[in-house]
């Protein structure tokens, strides 16, 4: 390969990686925006008694539907609500459910923490950190994401407890 061709090849590769990075970043930015839908007051009131009011954009509509159809058997606890409120929350969750490529996946057991993107984003977190009493469960977003309650999961606001 001539030196000129090599240089062109390198330039093409560089452009391709920049474009991929850009696209990934754009998708990520979409998810970040989606995670900041102003929460429905009833959603926060009912769901955040036991766990973070997870941003609706982190699961696809089909997952939310199954979760809301099964509140009396909600991951080992009875989280039942009256039918009218269940319908209202379900409609809101489905309307704001994730639609981006990564959020469209229906994760096993409809657990956000089992989604491929979640596992990938957290692959550098050591097993010992997950077991800390201050963390306890991967669903405990606020243990490290200090602004999770505001729907902000940005890198700069992560503080991993020791």
């Amino acid at each position: 390969m001539s030196a000129r061709l090599k240089a062109r090849w390198r330039l093409a590769l560089l452009c391709a990686s920049v474009a991929t990075l850009g696209a990934t970043h754009a998708a990520w930015a979409d998810d970040q925006r989606a995670s900041r839908v102003p929460p429905l007051p009833e959603y926060t009131q009912e769901c955040a008694s036991c766990h973070l009011a997870f941003p609706p954009g982190l699961l696809p509509a089909a997952s939310w539907r199954r979760i809301m159809d099964n509140l009396p058997r909600h991951y080992g606890t009875d989280a039942s609500l009256d039918p009218a409120l269940t319908r209202k929350l379900a409609a809101w969750l489905e309307a704001h459910a994730g639609t981006s490529k990564r959020a469209r996946e229906q994760p096993p057991e409809d657990r956000i923490t089992r989604a491929a993107w979640f596992v990938r984003e957290h692959d550098e977190v050591p097993a010992s950190t997950w077991k800390l009493p201050a963390v306890k469960s991967p669903a405990n977003c606020s243990a490290c994401h200090t602004q999770a309650e505001q729907g902000d999961f940005r890198e700069r606001n992560i503080r991993i407890p020791r």
């Binding site: 766990h51 606890t77 009875d78 405990n140």
Partner: protein, 135 residues
């Protein structure tokens, strides 16, 4: 006479207040305890309530799994670790102040701990113990 803008405003405010009132169903711990005791038909026993609260009932969790052994202090959700405010009204004025909320949590939590709904006697017993706790 055409109704003024202000009278529309007042009507709207009154409607909203009525709606809020019907949703909140405000009550005091003593009123709720009296209600459950009447339903139960026997006097509430704080001692029985304490036993029910601390014991397991054939399932993994007891009330203490989430509420802790000292209800004048807060607890932590047994699976998520989320902090839970103190349950004793003397330590937390918001407790037992809303009929619908109390009913909702008794329904869910009795199901998690006992695998069934609690009877009026059981609710009265637990409430009577909690109301008597001093911080």
């Amino acid at each position: 006479m055409k109704p003024s803008k202000r009278s529309y405003g007042i009507a709207a405010l009154l409607t909203m207040a009525a709606m809020l009132w019907s949703q909140v169903q405000a009550a005091t711990p003593a009123e709720l305890l009296a209600g459950y005791s009447t339903q139960a038909g026997i006097a509430a026993s704080a001692q029985r309530g304490e036993q029910l609260f601390n014991a397991t009932h054939g399932k993994e969790w007891s009330c203490t799994s989430c509420h802790g052994t000292a209800p004048t202090q807060g607890g932590k959700h047994a699976s998520t670790g989320k902090p839970i405010g103190a349950l004793a009204p003397s330590a937390n004025a918001q407790r037992f102040s809303d009929t619908a909320k109390v009913e909702k949590w008794f329904r869910r939590n009795c199901n998690d701990v006992l695998g069934r709904e609690c009877s009026a006697t059981e609710k009265a017993d637990v409430m009577s113990w909690l109301i008597g706790l001093k911080p």
